[in-house]
């Protein structure tokens, strides 16, 4: 589904990604781990189409076609979803208005019937209950005054409503207490399915106890330094990232 080859990207003159290769098949869940500053969020944002990151080499394809020239909204309409590490506050736009506009924009793009207010509300209530979210959050401005945990739940809520085929979740686990973590993991697990691929970006192994990945990739110095199964996450938890960075450094 997703294929990244030799991806190089820079921001404001700083080279951050130095040749990423990564492949993710439908039905799989992969974890992307790595020390702070290794480029995880950069990779996630480049895949989603953030303009300020400049791709200098390599390619990203979705279902075999390059998406590099596509606007973020076009990528979204092709089924891509990015759960933000730092979800953005949008004062003056209610969560439910935002979600309805997003869902209907995508449906329209795919030639599907747009949902009316009643249909949308029913869907929203069902998914909010799944995320254990108080309905009052739906009528508040997007992420405004939300706690860290509420923001992360809100990201997963959006994912559950938009039902992407490829979801990239950037540190959706950081800042969550254990109860919220379980809710988030449960939300992600309900989305697992044959037609769907999920890339879970995380700093800690903790989340992977609840969302068990098929593969674990470790990013260091802007490259995939290692790929393994879920035991790699446990090794990292025990030994830290130092040895991987050293390895990656000696290769460079």
């Amino acid at each position: 589904m997703l294929k990244i080859t030799n991806l190089h990207a820079k921001v404001e003159g700083n080279q951050i990604l130095n040749g990423i290769d990564l492949e993710l098949e439908a039905g799989q869940v992969h974890a992307l781990m790595g020390p702070n500053g290794s480029g995880k969020s950069t990779l996630a944002q480049v895949i989603a189409g953030r303009e300020r990151f400049e791709v200098t080499e390599g390619d990203i394809t979705l279902d075999g076609a390059s998406i590099l020239e596509l606007a973020p909204e076009e990528r979204a309409c092709k089924g891509l979803f990015l759960g933000f590490q730092y979800p953005v506050e949008i004062p003056g736009v209610t969560n439910s208005y935002f979600l309805k506009a997003a869902l209907n924009a995508q449906r329209k793009n795919r030639g599907e019937q747009e949902l009316d207010a009643m249909e949308f509300l029913a869907l929203l209530k069902e998914k909010a209950a799944l995320m254990d979210m108080d309905p009052k959050f739906l009528n508040r401005s997007v992420n405004e005054g939300f706690s860290g945990g509420e923001r992360k739940k809100n990201e997963i809520l959006q994912m559950c409503i938009l039902e992407p085929r490829l979801a990239i979740l950037d540190e959706t686990d950081s800042g969550l207490d254990i109860d919220a973590l379980k809710v988030v993991a449960n939300g992600v697990n309900t989305m697992r399915g044959e037609d769907r691929a999920i890339l879970v970006v995380t700093h800690y192994q903790r989340l992977l106890e609840y969302i068990v990945p098929d593969k674990v990739h470790v990013l260091a110095n802007g490259r995939i330094a290692r790929t393994g199964d879920k035991s790699l996450a446990i090794t990292l938890e025990e030994k830290g990232y130092g040895w991987i960075e050293e390895e990656a450094g000696s290769q460079a």
Binding site: E73, A76, F84, V88, F98, L99
Partner: protein, 446 residues
């Protein structure tokens, strides 16, 4: 358009007019004469005058105008315009066409006992004492040539007198429509609202044109809020794209009165909104909220003054501007806290959104504080749409134009959402959106 006319030539058609209402009232004749002569001394405003620095006055004073004398527009045209405006059916409504009240288009529901709602010309015959007592007492013409013109040549306007204790439950709406003619017209008009002790009233002034002809609306409004009175004044300026609009609104507040002003500017080629509050007795409080949404080559200047003359008064001011194209917006917020005005609580905020590289805004907070026990806060920011918010919306599948619209509407809706009349809020949101993205009106917020 010609080279700038001399002030005397510019007003010649008015000086020649012998059909102004109220002729023969000695106080009025005297005021008109003095104001005419003051206008001739002052001349038309120059940009180098501090108070007119950001008003695009040159194209106004270069235009040769005929006096507005009222009009009878094609029936369907007016009805189409009226149907679009807020309050259709519910508000008390006065309709002015080319500066003169058109009675058959106006609607008066049952009025509370003692309430007077009249045109300026009728008021001069029916309640001249009220006009004599208040006219020109708040909006002084000595330093403002355009106010001198309304003092000298006003033909019509709205006069509202709310007696003690009367609560007017429906808003009173004055709609100002201008038709296109062979010659550009200038309407110098005069409004007066007197709200006596413990009364309550809402007045809307709506300026609207559906064509691109050149004309000038020059409107002076005076408001007195008596002790414990509560007044809401809403100005909606949706003039045509080649129109000029100059407003001078002056408000005096007595003990414990509350006045809220909302000034919404979306229209006009060049406009100026001057707004001044005199908090003359203790306990008075006022709100000044404004929104200007400009594109193309529009220029809009907002000049506000809150004069804290007495102790224990509160003022709260919030203006927002949205500028696209090559438009230019300006906000000047002067807050004067006089020596006696202890325990003043004044806050002011101006936030501007620039949607294009060529758009400009000038913001000037001016705080002058001569009392020592006061609370004054102010802030001003100008910037572009938040890039992270744009990206966030777009990653959810919302295209760029819509994302801009959603964020801009959210920015503007903070002011619109604070207007206490639902019909006005409902009217303004699509108007503002259409200004920003013609033809792409969003669906309503839930």
């Amino acid at each position: 358009m010609t080279a700038t006319l001399s002030p005397t030539d510019w007003i010649a058609p008015w000086r020649a007019a012998d059909d102004l209402p109220g002729r023969g009232l000695p106080w009025l004749d005297a005021m008109r004469e003095a104001a005419t002569s003051r206008f001739q001394d002052l001349g038309t405003p120059r940009r180098r005058w501090e108070a007119w620095r950001y008003t695009d006055v040159a194209p106004i004073v270069k235009t040769t105008f005929e006096p507005a004398r009222g009009g009878t527009p094609a029936r369907g045209e007016v009805e189409a315009a009226l149907a679009r405006l807020p309050g259709n059916g519910r508000f008390h409504r006065l309709v002015f066409v080319d500066g003169v009240l058109v009675e058959p288009l106006s609607v008066f529901h049952e009025l509370p006992e003692g309430l007077r709602v009249l045109s300026f010309s009728d008021a001069l015959t029916q309640i001249p004492e009220l006009l004599e007592q208040h006219l020109g007492k708040m909006a002084l013409y000595e330093d403002n040539p355009f106010t001198a013109l309304t003092a000298a040549f006003a033909r019509d306007g709205v006069v509202v007198h709310v007696p003690k204790g009367v609560v007017v439950d429906r808003p009173i709406e004055a709609i100002w429509l201008t038709t296109v003619g062979a010659q550009a017209i200038a309407n110098h008009a005069r409004n007066l609202l007197v709200a006596e002790e413990s009364s309550e009233v809402t007045l809307l002034d709506v300026f609207h044109a559906a064509h691109n002809g050149t004309y000038l609306n020059n409107i002076t409004t005076e408001i007195v809020a008596g002790p414990n009175a509560s007044v809401t004044h809403i100005r909606i300026q949706e003039e045509g794209r080649s129109a000029f609009h100059v407003a001078d609104t002056k408000i005096r507040q007595e003990r414990d009165s509350r006045v809220c002003s909302y000034v919404i500017t979306t229209g006009g080629r060049s406009s100026r909104n001057e707004l001044g509050f005199a908090l003359s007795e203790p306990g008075a409080s006022c709100v000044l909220n404004g929104l200007f949404v400009l594109n193309g080559n529009q220029v809009a200047d907002n000049m506000t003054l809150v004069d804290h003359q007495s102790p224990h008064c509160t003022s709260s001011e919030f203006y927002k501007g949205v500028m696209d194209g090559q438009s230019e917006g300006a906000f000047t917020g002067r807050v004067l806290v006089r020596e006696d005005a202890q325990k003043t609580d004044a806050e002011q905020n101006n936030r501007n959104l620039l949607l294009s590289d060529d758009a400009q805004v000038n913001t000037r907070p001016q705080l002058e504080i001569y009392a020592d026990d006061v609370k004054c806060a102010h802030g001003a920011t100008s910037g572009q749409l938040d890039r992270s918010a744009m990206f966030y919306l777009r990653t959810r599948g919302i295209d760029e134009i819509r994302a801009r619209q959603i964020l801009t509407r959210a920015f503007a809706s903070e002011i619109i959402g604070g207007i206490p009349v639902q019909e006005v809020r409902n009217h303004l949101l699509p108007v503002v959106e259409d200004r920003l993205c013609p033809g792409h009106t969003l669906e309503k917020t839930p």
